[in-house]
Amino acid sequence: MGGYQEGIIILMCINCIAAMGVSILTGFTGIFTLGHAAYMALGAYTTAILTVRYGVHWIPAIIAGGLMAVLIAWLIGLPTLKLTGDYYAIASIGLGEAIRLILENWQSFTRGARGFPGIEPYTTRICAVIIFIGLAIITFNFLDSRLGRELRASRDDSAAASLMGFNTPRTRMKALLLSAFYCGIAGALLGGYMSFIQPSMFDMMKSTELTAVVVFGGLGSMSGTILGSAAITLIMEYFRDISQYRMLIYGLLLVIIMVFRPEGLLGSREIWELFSLENSKQEDK
């Protein structure tokens, strides 16, 4: 396998991890975010600074990156999760950009807009695939757990869920923390793959892409998210030769999907439910 193919596999794993995170929040809890690239940035910078400046081994550093994203998400979530609907999405744009701008202007610590070079290339194919599969297994089990059902309940009808005794604000917070953790890990892996990070890699475009991928795969379908994310990564990478047209195609794709299949590739079903259609239809209705 050539280096190019290998790179694509690594990128696919990274994007899938980030998309899984956003899917937990957006697809399963119903909170739309347009600022999750900031958590990737936090993960990437924490890991980069720990490994380069303090010589920490990359495994604990990646976990620290994830935890840093969780910590900041908690601080952000406390006040903002009270906002509903579009207003949380708007706030997340503001917060995401604010985090990016802080990273960009904190010259002494992050080297600002010039970017942070010299990160040890620890994200190999094996490492990316193992982390992805590990997280995917955890995610699918998690979604079937009590907490996963709690998320869906508060998405479908938060009033009813809280009447049933769920603490919906806490459920939303848990979903946010978990999704920030995934994005932090994805960011840390991205840093290790590129050996170089820059605040502009984690701008609003990236955040939009994350949410768009989740919608593309199907809100409330984790396998759809992974499939959608992998598909979009492949399309974007193989069109790199015609780079001018790449973004044009991406934009067209977004609009076309929204027009013709707003429910996404799989809707809210998981991929294995497609093979037993009758059952899943009954479950839907």
Binding site: T80, Y87, G94, S158, Q244, M247, L248, L254, V255, V259
Partner: protein, 289 residues
């Protein structure tokens, strides 16, 4: 004082753009991120009419306004209308509008290239006045005056004409307005046309003030924030929010540092959302998703 004048002048440009956002939001309840694209279309149309085809300044500007307005209508028809007919979730419209923005931006990258252009120097009268120690440039005054003219015209249009009445009715409740005999499809096109025109005016000013390039539309994020601060869907809110934002930006740039201005803008947005999510003049919001 100098910074206040600069802030007001920048704020007036934001106001033109923010009012377009608010207008669309008041009818369709979604944030049209393609607005930046309309602005870029206006800027480029003006540039090409002036330089390539050699039209006079007023004709070029009129052409730019119409080009933007038509782009807005076409966007609405091709992208938003089919989505509106299928679903009521505004998030799909939001994502589609981001897609449209990317398309427009990159259409220009592909066709005319990404390089930075400048509108000819003589587009606006240049000149600098000094009044009581404050430097006023002609373009600052023009942008202020034009913003006031266009916003007044919009206000008259909304308050005195039949279609303005229909738009206000639809902003209250678009379904009922439709039942009362308002041609909603036409009305939405009209709203997009007006929003496109306002975006083009903003686009021309921005390309004179800074320069013209395909990503110029990203500046509308600021106008969008201004609209949120003022209260999405409220036109006076959009104007007030824009002026606040313009002032905040210029005062930060003048007294703290120019790198901090964006940070201040985004912090303002977040603080505003936390204190009063509906903005200064917004309607109370209810859960939509």
């Amino acid at each position: 004082m100098q910074q206040i004048i600069n802030g007001l002048s920048l704020g007036s440009v934001y106001a033109l753009i923010a009012v377009g956002y608010s207008l669309v939001y008041s009818i369709l309840l979604f944030s049209n991120f393609a607005h930046g694209g309309f602005l870029v279309v206006g800027g480029y149309a003006c540039y090409f009419l002036l330089t390539q085809w050699g039209y006079s300044v007023p004709v070029s500007m009129a052409g730019a306004l119409i080009a933007s307005g038509l782009t807005a209508i076409i966007t609405e028809r091709l992208a938003y209308k089919p989505i509106r007919e299928r679903t009521t979730t505004t998030l799909y419209l939001l994502i589609a509008s981001m897609g449209v923005n990317i398309i427009i931006e990159n259409l220009f990258v592909v066709t005319v290239g990404g390089r930075i252009r400048a509108l000819p120097q003589n587009t606006f009268p240049t000149g600098i006045f000094k009044i009581a120690g404050v430097t006023l440039s002609a373009s600052d005054i023009i942008s202020l005056v034009t913003a006031v003219i266009f916003l007044t015209m919009l206000q008259i249009f909304l308050n005195k004409t039949r279609w303005g009445l229909a738009i206000r009715a639809a902003a209250c409740d678009i379904r009922t307005a439709g039942l009362m005999g308002v041609n909603v499809t036409f009305l939405i096109s009209l709203v997009f046309f007006v929003a496109g025109i306002l975006a083009a005016v903003g686009g021309i000013f921005l390309s004179v003030r800074y320069s013209l390039y395909p990503q110029l539309g990203s500046i509308t994020t600021k106008a969008f924030i201004a609209a949120v601060i003022g209260g999405l869907g409220s036109l006076p809110g959009a104007v007030v929010g824009s002026l606040i934002l313009g002032l905040a930006e210029m005062l930060t740039a003048g007294f703290i540092s120019s790198q901090m201005r964006d940070l201040v803008v985004y912090s303002l947005l977040v603080i505003m959302l936390l204190i009063r999510p509906a903005g200064f003049f917004g309607k109370a919001v209810s859960e939509k998703i």
